[in-house]
């Protein structure tokens, strides 16, 4: 076969022109900003498998920056967001973290989605003295004075979800979780709270993130006959579990309580017949009807449209994390890392969409509200709230007041 050969030069030239234009544009835009703007870094996966979590977080931090600038900026200066798409790649997290710290010299970095990404960049910011905010709910245990974690941890949410499930549905639990740190540690906490509540764990199963077939598991669950299934499944592949569960006609037979369902738009993507009745516990729901929450969701939807995925705790905590940092800077009257850290450690609080959010000095985590909600017709019906929940899990192992030099993630020994 003699394949046809197109004119290489012509194609190459036009391709180069296109690429050059596309790549140069954002650089120009960036330089056009005021030279003395305060730079704030954002590192989120906006493409690749984890991109679905990053989109809404990216939207809310942009909203927070714009609101701040509209109100006169910070310390009399405008704030400029320096954003990199880490493309769901750990190497790019390290690379861009170095870039933000050394080249862009940002005042603070908000970002990281998976725990692995956080652990990759946390040491970089420690080494190059850059303040870092991790705004995602996670398994708990990070103890680092240069880092603030503003998402919920198991003591704040799992500790509400499991007792509710035991009281409502019965004492026998079957735990299914994603096979990595978050899932494994969350499953331990679930087990602890089940036993604390006088229940029994029939089995705990872990699923690699690329598992899409759940027929065998659904059979095993029926064989065990639990009164509730506790799920910490993660990602769009695992969404298949809820669909296959419903397709097998199990949905109305055994209820599901989850620590992850709905974080990435599941509530909108799968049918009400598959999701109705699932109970979750997070630090925020888009449906919260407080004035602060409605104003926030209205602003986000006005700016980014209805195409944006569900505004979950991830997006809300990112917004609140930025506001906490801004408050810290205002109080310190400076961008200096230590001054801002010390200001934040005085217990700075903001009234965010989720309610009052307060920095806890000892753990560098936050005290915040937790909520219980039930899925109903593509919405979350928030039926219970728990004000001012402390990060008790991390507090059990981490005290930065006594040991300010610590910089590690404890694997909390979950005792029964």
């Amino acid at each position: 076969m003699r394949p046809f050969r197109p004119s290489r030069r012509g194609l190459l030239q036009s391709a180069a022109t296109l690429a050059g234009g596309a790549l140069a544009a954002p650089l120009v835009a960036r330089h056009a900003l005021a030279a003395d703007a305060i730079k704030v870094g954002s590192l989120l996966d906006l493409s690749g498998p984890i991109g679905s979590s990053g989109q809404a977080m990216h939207a809310t931090i942009r909203l927070a920056v714009d609101e701040l600038n509209a109100g006169g900026g910070l310390l009399g200066r405008q704030v400029e967001l320096v954003n990199y798409d880490t493309q769901s790649t750990i190497q790019l997290y390290s690379q861009y973290a170095q870039q933000l710290a050394l080249k862009d010299k940002v005042a603070v970095v908000h970002g990281g989605i998976t725990s692995a990404s956080r652990e990759a960049i946390r040491p970089v910011f420690d080494r190059y003295a850059t303040l870092y905010f991790y705004n995602v709910l996670y398994e708990g245990g990070v103890c680092d004075r240069d880092c603030f974690c503003t998402g919920t941890t198991p003591a704040q949410t799992v500790n509400k979800l499991v007792p509710y499930a035991l009281e409502t549905w019965g004492k026998k639990a079957y735990i299914i979780a994603a096979d990595y740190n978050y899932g494994q540690i969350t499953a331990k906490w679930m087990g602890k709270y089940v036993r604390d509540g006088g229940g029994t764990v029939q089995a705990t199963e872990f699923f690699p993130l690329d598992v899409t077939e759940f027929a065998a598991t659904i059979s095993k669950i029926q064989q065990a006959g639990p009164s509730v299934v506790l799920s910490a499944l993660v990602g769009s592949n695992h969404t298949a579990f809820y669909r296959q569960w419903a397709a097998a006609g199990m949905k109305d037979k055994i209820p599901i309580a989850s620590t992850t369902f709905g974080l990435v738009n599941e509530i909108a993507t799968i049918a009400p017949s598959e999701s109705n009745g699932v109970v979750t516990s997070y630090g925020y729901y888009e449906e919260l009807s407080t004035p602060a929450s409605t104003a926030f969701t209205k602003a986000v939807r006005a700016k980014f449209g209805d195409g944006l995925p569900y505004i979950s705790e991830l997006a809300c905590a990112t917004y609140e994390g930025f506001k906490l940092w801004a408050e810290g800077v205002k109080k310190a009257g400076s961008l200096d890392r230590m001054k801002v850290t010390e200001a934040l450690e005085t217990g700075i609080a903001v009234d965010g969409p989720s309610g009052k959010v307060t920095i806890d000095h000892a753990t560098h985590h936050v005290v915040r509200n937790a909520y219980l909600a039930r899925a109903a017709e593509r919405k979350w019906d928030v039926f219970q709230s728990y004000p001012d929940q402390a990060p008790a899990d991390t507090a059990a192992v981490c005290d930065l007041i006594k040991e300010p030099k610590l910089s590690k993630q404890f694997v909390i020994d979950v005792k029964t």
């Binding site: 989109q55 199963e205 065998a216 769009s236 969404t239 993507t269």
Partner: protein, 293 residues
Amino acid sequence: MALTGLILFNIANSIAVLVLLSLGLGVIYGMMRVINLAHGEFLMLGAYTTVVSANAGLNLWVAMLVAAPLAVGLFGLAVERLFIRFLYGRIIDTMLATWGLSLAVVGLITTIFGTTVRGVSAPFGGFAIGGYQTSVYSWFVIAVAAAMAAGVWLVLRFTKFGLIVRATMQNPDMAAALGVSPQWIYMMTFALGSALAGLAGGVLAPVSGVSPVMGGAFIARAFITVLGGGPAIVTGTGLASGLFGSISEVATFFTTPVFGQVALLLAALVMIRILPQGITGSGLTGRLLRRSL
């Protein structure tokens, strides 16, 4: 007893899913020695076609069984005309091009539909085997997989098109000398393989998490199944699906999902060590099945 029935049913379902995932890839690889690394994205496009057209009001069955294979088949045709036809005989280049294509398609779908899309749910509901609930939809999945495999086999074995395709596969120059255009056959084969992938994606859409990156979860399994099957497209893919599907399902049921996955991979390793040309290409099975399709 009921439990045994349930496990057997699950095994059948698991085999059917593997056949669905890999047959399209097997047709393209078996006929043309083109490893289509964008195969997972072809499945994803099938799922998207189903979901988007069903949400737009099209009947679910039409969306799944007609729209999905049609749309992805046409897409495959375009891909073949635009890229693949320049690259025949260069197996590495086709892999690179299709890998690039897979990235670009993921990017394109994300740009158009966002990172998530409203799915469709499985029709039918559940039924009971003894005291155990399971899904009626699985019957449908099994039926489609069986029909797909039988259809490809019948076309290859009994139609004139099948005869020409087999001849071209064996000796393209001779076929060309006899007045067949290998270019045309390759084009049609690629479109057929793509359509099969589209159909599979459509059928699996109601029981999968539909997202732009869903193809990534399928490609490794499909790849291993096709190569494990060896040169005979239908028999090989069918046997390899049967073997790997049973092993992973049984291992998952009696141990853990992690071990189920590792067991599948280990089985593939051991099998390739014993039968280096795949099930239908070497060893006793190879001799028995040498003339199969």
